[in-house]
Structure formats: structure tokens, C-alpha cells
């Protein structure tokens, strides 16, 4: 892989960027749905289901609600999608090419992952729907909620690798000294990231921003057709990329075939968590993230300093 010209375009659009991660992400949403169905004594949809959903949405009418600012409303989904494509490119590049990563790409990645909820907030605010506004404010609050323990948890691998903020160094350190997960601080940090993943994906118990029963799909309420499809695609890609990120940072990267198994394990864990919990209230979620996970995050950081 190269960082220039056509290669870059290929990386961004086909592999591992847009197309590849989209297809894998969509298959993963099927995994999500089939596992949910089996937990609930149902059969679940066929494997092509997410693709049918997507094609249908892409070709349906896209309505811009009255009073919404058209440009922002329609561009917001693209922002999230672009961020995810970049994330995908970056993650794959550093995993297959640990020496080639640049300084601070971990921080870039954190911000890229933050762009997806931001896109939701922007889009929902642009739609001028009171329910979407409630959803947007919830999404924003949730973002502030989980970002603090998330960053604390990410400090753990940084400390363990001796202050590296390059993903490549993290991977190299793990290949040399074993994954960071296999230590007390690593387990705590990984659990925090797992909960954050749940929240970033907008899955139960942290789906209050798109609570269908309370605020009619909240942030998505006014989206239809292609723009909704882009949001769904972004979510699907996140379902692919967030566990991948977790493996990269905590579980030794995906240099070997075991990574696939680790990856599926994380996805199934996320789906099971989704199906065995009711939705939190937003204040409960904030309390959970700040006062429980935040404290655990600090504990993990301290433990990491004393090399536990």
C-alpha cells in the first residue's frame, strides 16, 4: 500500500476504505440481527437482508423537511461516512504496516470516531424537528459522557507501551510483549472500551438518542431515503471498525487469523449486551459513564503505572 495518488484513492474507496468495510459492516448487521433473533426465539432475516434494505433506501425519495437547512441536512451523513472510511483505511494500514504509521494517529483516530456522533447531532439539529432536537441533545450528552472514560481507557495502552501515541508502536509493543489485554489494567480498560463501543454504536442500553418508543427514532426521525441509508451504512461500518479498533489497541492487532475469532467474539458480546438490557435514562447513562466507568478508568490508569 502506498500513501500517494491512485493507491490512496483505492485505499479510501475500495479496500480497506469504503466498499470493503461497508460490505463487511452490512454482513455484521446481519450477524447482529440473527443473533438477536435467536436470543428472542425467532428465526431472523436472511443474509442478504441488509443489502436489500440498503438498495431500497438508496433509491427511495429523500425528503428534506420544511424549514431544515438543506445543505447541512444532506451533508451531515456524508461527514460520518467519510470519517468511517478514513478510520478504516488508517486502521488497516497500520495493522499491516506498523512501521508506516505517523505520530499521533491514535489521537486522529479518536477524533475520527467522534465525528460520527457529531454528524448525527449536526444532521438532527438541522432537521428542525422537536423530537430530533431531543435526540441530538441526548447524543451530545452521551458523547460527553463516554468520551471521558474512553480516553482514560486509551491511556492504559499508551502507558504500557511507554508513551507511544502511534498505533504502529502499540502493535509492535504488543507483538513483542503480549497483548495489553492480559493484565488487570488491560481488562478493565478493555471493558470500558466495550461499553463505550456499545454507546458509540447507539445500541441498547445506550440508544436513548434514537429511542424509537420515546422520541420516534430521535436523531433519525426526519431522515429518509438515501441520507438514511448513508447513516445506516455509517452505523454498519462502525459495527465493523470499533471492535477492530479494540483488537488493535488491546488484543494484539490482527496480524494472525485468530483476530477473526476475537473480532466475532467482541461483536457477539456487544449484540448479547444489547439484547439483555433495557435502555438507560440519559442521566443514568451519564452517571454510569462518569462516576462508575470514570472511576474504573482512573483505577486502570493507576494500575497501568504500577505495571499490573
Amino acid at each position: 500500500m502506498s500513501w500517494s495518488g491512485w493507491g490512496l484513492a483505492f485505499n479510501f474507496l475500495i479496500f480497506p476504505g469504503f466498499l470493503f468495510s461497508a460490505v463487511v459492516g452490512l454482513v455484521l448487521t446481519w450477524v447482529d440481527r440473527i443473533v438477536s433473533a435467536r436470543v428472542q426465539y425467532r428465526r431472523g432475516p436472511p443474509v442478504f437482508q441488509p443489502f436489500a434494505d440498503l438498495f431500497k433506501l438508496l433509491l427511495k425519495q429523500t425528503i428534506v423537511p420544511d424549514g431544515a437547512s438543506k445543505t447541512v441536512f444532506l451533508l451531515a451523513p456524508m461527514l460520518g461516512l467519510a470519517a468511517m472510511c478514513l478510520t478504516s483505511g488508517l486502521l488497516f494500514y497500520v495493522n499491516f504496516n506498523p512501521q508506516g504509521s505517523f505520530v499521533g494517529d491514535l489521537i486522529v483516530l479518536v477524533y475520527l470516531l467522534g465525528l460520527a456522533p457529531l454528524a448525527l447531532v449536526i444532521g438532527a439539529s438541522a432537521s428542525r424537528n422537536p423530537l430530533s432536537a431531543v435526540g441530538a441533545s441526548r447524543e451530545m450528552m452521551l458523547y460527553f459522557g463516554y468520551e471521558l472514560p474512553f480516553l482514560l481507557a486509551l491511556l492504559v495502552p499508551i502507558i504500557k507501551s511507554g508513551g507511544a501515541i502511534r498505533l504502529g508502536e502499540l502493535i509492535v509493543a504488543q507483538q513483542a510483549g503480549g497483548p495489553f489485554l492480559y493484565s488487570i489494567s488491560g481488562v478493565i480498560a478493555a471493558l470500558i472500551v466495550l461499553f463505550t463501543t456499545q454507546a458509540k454504536l447507539g445500541y441498547v442500553p445506550f440508544d436513548m438518542a434514537e429511542a424509537e418508543q420515546e422520541i420516534m427514532s430521535g436523531v433519525f426521525a426526519e431522515y429518509s431515503g438515501a441520507s438514511l441509508a448513508v447513516f445506516k451504512l455509517t452505523k454498519a461500518m462502525m459495527l465493523f471498525l470499533l471492535p477492530l479498533f479494540m483488537i488493535t489497541v488491546f488484543w494484539g492487532g490482527f496480524g494472525d487469523w485468530w483476530a477473526i475469532l476475537k473480532f466475532l467474539l467482541i461483536v457477539v458480546l456487544v449484540v448479547l449486551m444489547k439484547n439483555t438490557n433495557p435502555r438507560f435514562r440519559i442521566d443514568q447513562a451519564l452517571r454510569f459513564f462518569w462516576f462508575i466507568l470514570g472511576v474504573f478508568g482512573i483505577v486502570a490508569v493507576v494500575l497501568a503505572f504500577v505495571r499490573l
Binding site: 440481527r33 425467532r42 432475516p45 440498503l54
Partner: protein
């Protein structure tokens, strides 16, 4: 391209449930469709929370003067193309409420209906057949 969309629509009809002065029975049976015994997610049917996401509106009940403008608004908000399927005898003929001062149905006076599923309430199997027949005309 449009054939791909049509295939998608047939394979993944997302339904939004509109009850206009119904007795709740058809509504409950519609929800019943999603539960383990019938599980229409097998066919890609998902109940969505916003009319903007809907491909099919399942309407139930005799429409009354107060709900009529709201139902029409919901239809207008739905992203097109959008099927409208009437569930229950009330939607076809006002059922036993035809003499009521408040019933303004049946639905085909107001909305472009694609199918009716009569019955009070129709059995869930009949509803599935209704949606399938409506889709098979596409």
C-alpha cells in the same frame, strides 16, 4: 437500477403502523406478527418508528374526523414509493360503525390503497398474505 430498488422493496418492506380509530385488536395482531410465533423479520419486515422510514403503511380502524387529517399527514410525510395496506374490516367498509356521526371512511376515499385485509381481526397469517399479495403486484 430501479429494478434493484424494486427488489429491495420486495425483500425489505419496512412498515409503519397507523391506527386511526381502531379497536386495538388489529394493532395488537400486527405487533404479534413480529413476535416469535410469526416472526416476519424472516421476510425483512421491520416495524419502524418514523413515517419517513416507511415503505408500507399498515392502517387500521375506521377513520374518524379527527384522525383523518393526521393520517393524510403521515402519508404525506412518508418517503415515496409507499404502499398503503388496510388491515381489518373497518378499513374496507367502516364495519359496524357506518352509521356513526364520526366515521368518514372507508379508506379508499382518502388514500391510495394497495391492499385490504378483511377480518375482525384478520389472523396474522392473513396479514402476511396481504402484504405478500400487495408486494407481488410490484
Amino acid at each position: 437500477m430501479s429494478r434493484l430498488g424494486l427488489w429491495g422493496l420486495k425483500k425489505s418492506p419496512w412498515v409503519y403502523h397507523v391506527a386511526a380509530a381502531s379497536c386495538n385488536n388489529c394493532d395488537i395482531e400486527i405487533l404479534e406478527l413480529l413476535t416469535p410465533r410469526y416472526d416476519v423479520e424472516r421476510f425483512g419486515v421491520v416495524l419502524v418508528g418514523s413515517p419517513r422510514h416507511a415503505d408500507a403503511l399498515l392502517v387500521t380502524g375506521v377513520i374518524n374526523r379527527k384522525s383523518l387529517p393526521r393520517v393524510m399527514e403521515v402519508y404525506e410525510q412518508a418517503a415515496k414509493p409507499c404502499l398503503v395496506i388496510g388491515v381489518g374490516t373497518c378499513t374496507c367498509s367502516n364495519h359496524m360503525f357506518k352509521n356513526s356521526y364520526n366515521a368518514v371512511g372507508p379508506y379508499d376515499k382518502h388514500l391510495p390503497m394497495h391492499a385490504f385485509v378483511p377480518g375482525c381481526p384478520p389472523k396474522p397469517e392473513a396479514m402476511i398474505l396481504g402484504v405478500v399479495k400487495a408486494l407481488s403486484k410490484l
